[in-house]
């Protein structure tokens, strides 16, 4: 250790070790942000003008009015709930074969590729785009929303199921196979017990997502609380809208709490 006049100081190592990459990323970020803010046409006049309007707007949300539109709100929430139940059940049921097919350690390559393609396609488009098309095909109402949510569920649940199966313990699977089990017995006694606890948790999580999305498919006519919400916005009845939003938040919190409870019980 050479003795120098300066006291030695320690500097923490940077997060990205490669100096060239680090500075390159900073530079890229700076260039991108200048470009992005350059094309972001913020009409500050409109924003400033919007501040008192926004205050009035936010004030008109309070107090939330649960009573004067209670019938419509109740019908909407109720419809959202059945859409959620049916689409989660059907979506999960359909995603089991897809998920099995999309697990590399279970299926032959052509099946694997086909199932991965199904998963990728149904994951790409947001629920609302699916809902627009289903409303065109099946008419207004909860059926279109139900189909959109089920299809989105297949992509989400099938992908996670496949990943979970790929990560399972192969030793148990081999042990069951060594007893001479048929393919279905093997699936039922070796694969299913390993993935089930996590899958129940994910099913509840998807239920939660489907409920939140069911509030959106209504905006394009797919049934559920979204239509009620849009109507209350269009009629400037913001206090009813606030009531709807609060009910959605309460139900989401309830489902999240229940799913935590069920997950602990299953595991």
């Amino acid at each position: 250790m050479s003795q120098t006049g300066e006291p030695r100081t320690w500097k923490r190592p940077p997060f990205i070790q490669n100096a060239r990459l680090r500075w390159g990323l900073w530079l890229g970020a700076a260039v991108y942000l200048t470009l992005a803010f350059g094309t972001l046409e913020v009409d500050w006049g409109r924003v400033v003008e919007g501040v008192p309007r926004g205050q009035r707007f936010i004030a008109s949300f309070f107090p939330p009015d649960f009573l004067s539109r209670w019938e419509e709100i109740f019908d909407g929430i109720y419809e959202s709930l059945w859409m959620t139940v049916t689409s989660t059940v059907i979506g999960v049921a359909l995603s089991i074969p897809v998920g099995l097919g999309a697990a590399r350690n279970l299926s032959p390559t052509p099946v694997y590729l086909a199932c991965r393609a199904i998963v990728a396609l149904s994951r790409t488009f947001p629920e609302i785009i699916l809902a627009i098309f289903f409303v065109k095909l099946f008419g207004f109402g909860p059926f279109a929303g139900f189909l959109a949510l089920s299809l989105a569920t297949i992509g989400f649940y099938g992908k996670l199921l496949a990943e979970d199966i790929e990560a399972m313990d192969p030793v148990q699977a081999e042990a069951v196979k060594a007893t001479g089990a048929s393919w279905f017995q093997w699936l039922n006694y070796a694969v299913q017990p390993q993935v089930l606890p996590r899958m129940i948790g994910l099913g509840l999580y998807r239920f939660d997502i489907n409920f939140r999305e069911s509030a959106v498919v209504g905006i394009v006519g797919g049934g559920g609380i979204g239509a009620t919400l849009l109507t209350s916005f269009d009629r400037y009845e913001f206090d009813s809208a606030a009531a709807i939003l609060l009910i959605i938040i309460a139900i989401v919190m309830g489902v999240e709490y229940t799913s935590g409870f069920v997950r602990r019980w299953v595991q």
Partner: protein
């Protein structure tokens, strides 16, 4: 051990009798609820339209091909807007989500009884309301355009980023924090040398993951007037320009695939 006596022979079963009954009852209840819900939907559906739908779908598909490739020239600007909405929205979200996450994590919150519940409520409220609904509200306040989209994506992402981040903070190794505290470091120094380095990889992963989701969500914000390629989609659907619609859908597909690839690469490099 679940063993049953059958004519003096012991037979193995997978579960005890009580557990078997509980599972059976849960299935019965589930099937009953599902059947009831299905019946309600079925009552509200006009099955005539459903029967007719294959013909409609074929008709629509026929009108959608071939995509009108020349329309692509007017899609570049909306695509750039979409990218900006997702990126700037994510940026805004993480700036707000970091303090919220530190307030919500049990081991860093200033007060478990006052600050933590507020932070948790912020997280749930932001997560429960879809970005389209945030956009619907913001378009009324600050007018239609990209800016409303950025704020909507930002507000929606706060909850997601803060939730994953506070879970990461709660899982940190307390020994390192204790070691830094033992050197006589102040609170801010403990934060910056003991906690932040432990959560930084998770933080970067969460940000890129959310950015990828936001690209997907920002493609539809235009449906309620908040900028991006959704505006073109809405306009093309309303004018029944189906060849343009198919091109827009292809453009969205390509964008999502690219963003997913980028996000997977970056996360792979970090973790």
């Amino acid at each position: 051990m679940a063993v049953r006596d059958v004519n003096g022979l012991k037979q193995w079963q997978r579960r005890e009798r009580g557990k078997q009954f509980a599972i059976w009852a849960a299935w019965l209840a589930g099937v009953a609820v599902f059947t009831y819900c299905w019946q309600l939907i079925s009552e509200k559906t006009i099955w005539m339209f459903v029967l007719d739908s294959p013909r409609q779908a074929a008709d629509l598909a026929e009108r959608m091909v071939p995509p009108k490739w020349s329309y692509m020239s007017s899609l570049w600007v909306p695509l750039w807007d979409t990218l900006n909405i997702a990126t700037l929205g994510t940026l805004m979200a993480i700036i707000i989500a970091v303090p919220v996450a530190f307030c919500a994590a049990r081991n860093t919150t200033p007060s478990v009884y006052f600050v933590r519940p507020v932070a948790l409520f912020v997280i749930v409220a932001s997560r429960s309301i879809n970005s389209l609904i945030w956009a619907l509200m913001l378009v009324t306040i600050i007018g239609p355009g990209v800016f409303a989209g950025v704020i909507a994506i930002g507000l929606r992402s706060i909850g997601f980023c803060a939730k994953l981040l506070y879970e990461a903070i709660e899982e940190i190794d307390p020994n390192q924090v204790e070691a830094v505290t033992a050197t006589g470091a102040s609170g801010a120094q403990v934060l910056s040398y003991g906690i932040v380095p432990q959560v930084l990889p998770a933080f970067a992963g969460i940000t890129v993951f959310r950015w990828d989701i936001n690209i997907r969500e920002s493609t539809v914000l235009g449906l309620v007037g908040a900028g991006g390629i959704g505006l073109q989609l809405d306009a093309s659907i309303s004018t029944l320009a189906w060849t343009q619609v198919s091109l827009i859908l292809l453009a969205i597909l390509a964008t999502v695939v690219v963003s997913e690839w980028v996000s997977a690469r970056v996360r792979h490099a970090i973790i």
